[in-house]
Symmetry: C2
Subunit: 291 residues, 2 copies
């Protein structure tokens, strides 16, 4: 046995222990083997091994609420006692009552935009970081009772690690706010902030007595969803991914007809045969859901 | 002598051979030693070792023309014979005559915007790539007579490699167009497209008979210069760099008073003592300018 064999034996290759050894996992492994095999026709140089993952519903659950929406509602609740204007605001009441139909009324979803503006803008990026970190430390997932950052799909964590061990660069490409995700995704998914593409606005630079700050706004809002996803990939990554993982029609390049407020997966499933996509069934394909 | 010693001797650490062994190079090396020394108070984990570089005037020359402006003028010249509307356009003539004062007239620099629109928008991202690649293959720098991609500051290439060898992630943060730079910076600087922050607009997604395309526009134009630079770093990287390299007031966080059309370095020099910046003098500090 050579020294090289010994190294390989003592460091077994990273694999997918929480995945059943059936079609989707086999397809993923076959794909990775193919693109990493030097000299093969399908070989892809490491620099071009870009893999993109949706976040809500793909890496962590999105029911009963997308995580960022839970943050937004908890922020309103936290601030109402000291901000009478919030307590008197009918849109804030609609949000806290779960009346999402009211928030989504109108072409521009004025109610939703108002709630986003109240909770995601007006503060510096550092103040926002503190708000999110304090929320993460205290909030519990309503169904599972654990902090949100622990309610993560274990098989997807393994998949992220498996791809990175094969010299893929893993990105999040999600409709969620980039500022919100970048605060915690590195610790949870091992994905650094610069590999997070999300919905985003242009902060304003201010020179204060305390020093320079960036103030969050809704200016030039970019919604990284549906046709926005390929636009965001071009603008923020500038290279086409060779592997994409998502859970809704929002990840298709053209889908305008989602039937639920979020997370609908209808049309994409119809296109699976012609497009050769792999469909992962959490019940059949995964041995374990959470870490 | 141990095997470890032998490995180190046969693979000398990457250093800065084109830099004179005086203050600026010494300051850079001392900084890198400090932040990479585990256990030291100044240690920075590899994930946070973000270094950002301006492009024009920092990694390649910006006189007599910023490279992208040379591309734009060459594009106009290339297209005039087959596009009579261009030949009849007084702004196109001003551009080709080098009348930059006319292009910059008015608060919104309408002339410049028109020329940018003519050459940088309306085509798909793939068509634009072909235009840039063909220009790179044929154009020559007016002063040095070589292709632009060969007129690169050798000491800065060494600095990029030196930082990467010390687990820095190197980014470009430049006022130039991200789409323009991403086409060639990987081959020239070893910086992948996803580590390029530049001026950018939002492409539009179209589903054509040939398949999905992204069409370049000037919509939601973001100019990554002056106060736009920290805004762009926040929006595209999401983490503060620990090392910044630039050559003009445009890299200061607040500079509104540049005195030349581009590349003025006036106020930043005044701030050097109080800010502790290192100033590199190409004549005294570099042994060699180009590769």
């Amino acid at each position: 046995m050579s020294a090289q064999d010994e190294i390989q034996r003592s460091n077994p290759p990273i694999s997918l222990p929480s995945w059943n050894d059936i079609a989707p996992a086999k397809a993923i492994i076959a794909f990775v083997d193919k693109v990493t095999k030097e000299g093969s026709a399908d070989f892809v140089p490491p620099a071009e091994r870009i893999a993109v993952f949706d976040n809500d519903g793909t890496l962590w659950p999105e029911y009963p609420l997308v995580g960022q929406l839970a943050f937004i509602l908890d922020e309103l609740k936290r601030r109402i006692p000291t901000e009478p204007a919030l307590a008197a605001d009918s849109i804030v009441h609609a949000a806290l009552a779960g009346d999402f139909a009211k928030l989504l009324e109108g072409t521009h979803h004025d109610g939703l935009m108002r709630v986003l503006g109240l909770t995601l803008t007006g503060m510096t990026t550092e103040e926002f970081r503190v708000n999110v970190e304090e929320w993460l430390a205290s909030a519990r997932h309503p169904k599972f009772g654990h902090p949100y950052y622990q309610v993560i799909y274990q098989p997807m964590l393994e998949l992220l690690r498996y791809l990175r061990a094969n010299d893929f660069k893993t990105f999040i490409v999600s409709g969620g706010g980039a500022d919100f995700m970048r605060i915690w995704v590195e610790g949870v998914y091992g994905i650094p902030p610069e590999q997070v593409v999300g919905s985003t606005s242009r902060a304003t630079f201010e020179l204060r007595d305390s020093g320079p700050v960036l103030v969050k706004t809704m200016n030039y809002l970019f919604v990284d969803d549906k046709p926005g996803m390929p636009v965001g990939i071009h603008q923020f990554i500038g290279r086409r991914p060779i592997a994409c993982f998502g859970n809704s029609d929002g990840e298709r390049e053209f889908a305008y007809d989602a039937m639920a407020p979020w997370g609908s997966l209808v049309d994409a499933l119809k296109e699976v045969p012609q497009r050769g996509w792999s469909v992962v069934d959490m019940k059949n394909d995964w041995r374990r859901i959470f870490a």
